[in-house]
């Protein structure tokens, strides 16, 4: 095993045999790069939150948050996202144990919770649209749909990524590359849950109160 590792040419492409001992040292570049991507995404959401903070009180004689938001539905979708976070964590733990079936199973559960969250959000948006609370109605609703919609698009992208990862795991198993992809999507997924905390605190709860 060790002689093979020595003979292996050292290049950018990390091979299967070369990482058994020092897995984390090879991942450093990718994980740090992905983290910096998440931080730039965080800045996007920061500006959208600032937009909402500035425009969120301009109702233009239209409906206010207290008229529109149904907090029990928001609580439900919050828990959908929180459950999907913990099931992704279980998936990562199964991956650490080398259990492919468990990893796939928990990933599917994560995807279902993510889809449930998206379904609730689509329901909410279509309901708002039907009662005339469209983004065109007021500056408050424009900024609301932009902020929450951007988060929803991120979750959609995460779900598509999750399906792609399921296919990759199914075809190649728990290879080093797939483990790295698992950890990147893990960061992305937990990050989306983190942004949602800001959304439900700042937009929904504080919006209904003030």
């Amino acid at each position: 095993m060790s002689t093979e590792t020595v003979l292996e040419p050292q290049d950018f492409y990390v091979r299967q045999a070369a990482h058994d001992d020092g897995e984390h040292h090879h991942e450093t570049g990718t994980m740090l790069g992905f983290w910096i991507y998440l931080m730039s995404d965080c800045l996007i959401f920061g500006t959208l939150f600032a937009t909402y903070a500035v425009l969120g009180r301009n109702y233009a004689a239209g409906p206010s948050p207290a008229d529109l938001f149904e907090l029990d539905m928001i609580l439900l979708s919050t828990f959908m996202l929180l459950f999907s976070s913990i099931t992704y964590g279980f998936s990562v733990l199964r991956m650490d144990k080398g259990d492919l079936r468990g990893t796939l199973l928990w990933l599917v559960v994560t995807g279902l919770f993510g889809l449930a969250f998206l379904g609730l959000e689509i329901l909410e948006f279509s309901h708002l649209w039907h009662i005339g609370a469209t983004p065109m109605a007021s500056a408050f609703l424009s900024s609301f749909f932009t902020l929450v919609g951007t988060h929803g698009l991120h979750v959609t992208a995460g779900c598509i990524w999750l399906v792609v990862l399921l296919v990759q795991l199914g075809r190649h198993g728990l290879t080093h590359e797939n483990k790295r992809r698992m950890m990147c999507l893990s960061m992305f997924w937990h990050f989306l849950d983190l942004i949602w905390i800001g959304v439900f605190s700042f937009v929904y709860l504080a919006g209904v109160l003030v």
Partner: protein, 129 residues
């Protein structure tokens, strides 16, 4: 199950700190998140406190607390991960977000104040010679 968890425990320790976490840390993070989610929703949905500003402050503080819980228990971030670069980039991002948020709110609040003439301001202008 128990046999495999034994081997994985050793494996997990070998991974070193700041790795993928363990069942325990995930469950602690999940429990804290549930509590920190339910309290603000309970406060707002049942109108527990009379003081609305106080409620908003509590909601924000608990939200920030839950974000820290997520960063530590789910994203496995700590001051040593990736030789401190994660913490460095995170604190820089937080600084920028705070500047953007507080700056926008501050500037636009003053703009609104000065653009919307109040009644006595209008009267004062009318009374000018």
């Amino acid at each position: 199950m128990s046999a495999s968890s034994n081997t994985s425990l050793e494996h997990g320790e070998g991974h070193g700190e700041g790795g993928h976490g363990s069942f325990r840390t995930y469950m602690i993070g999940f429990g804290l998140s549930v509590v920190l989610t339910i309290i603000p929703f309970w406060l707002v949905m049942n109108d527990v406190l009379d003081d609305r500003l106080l409620t908003v402050a509590i909601v924000f503080i608990l939200g920030a607390g839950q974000m820290i819980v997520h960063i530590y228990f789910f994203l496995h971030m700590n001051s040593r991960a990736e030789e401190g670069w994660l913490a460095m980039s995170l604190s820089f991002t937080v600084l920028l977000v705070v500047i953007v948020l507080s700056g926008s709110i501050w500037v636009m609040f003053h703009l609104d104040e000065n653009m919307m003439p109040s009644h006595d301001q209008i009267e004062r202008v009318k009374a000018l010679p």
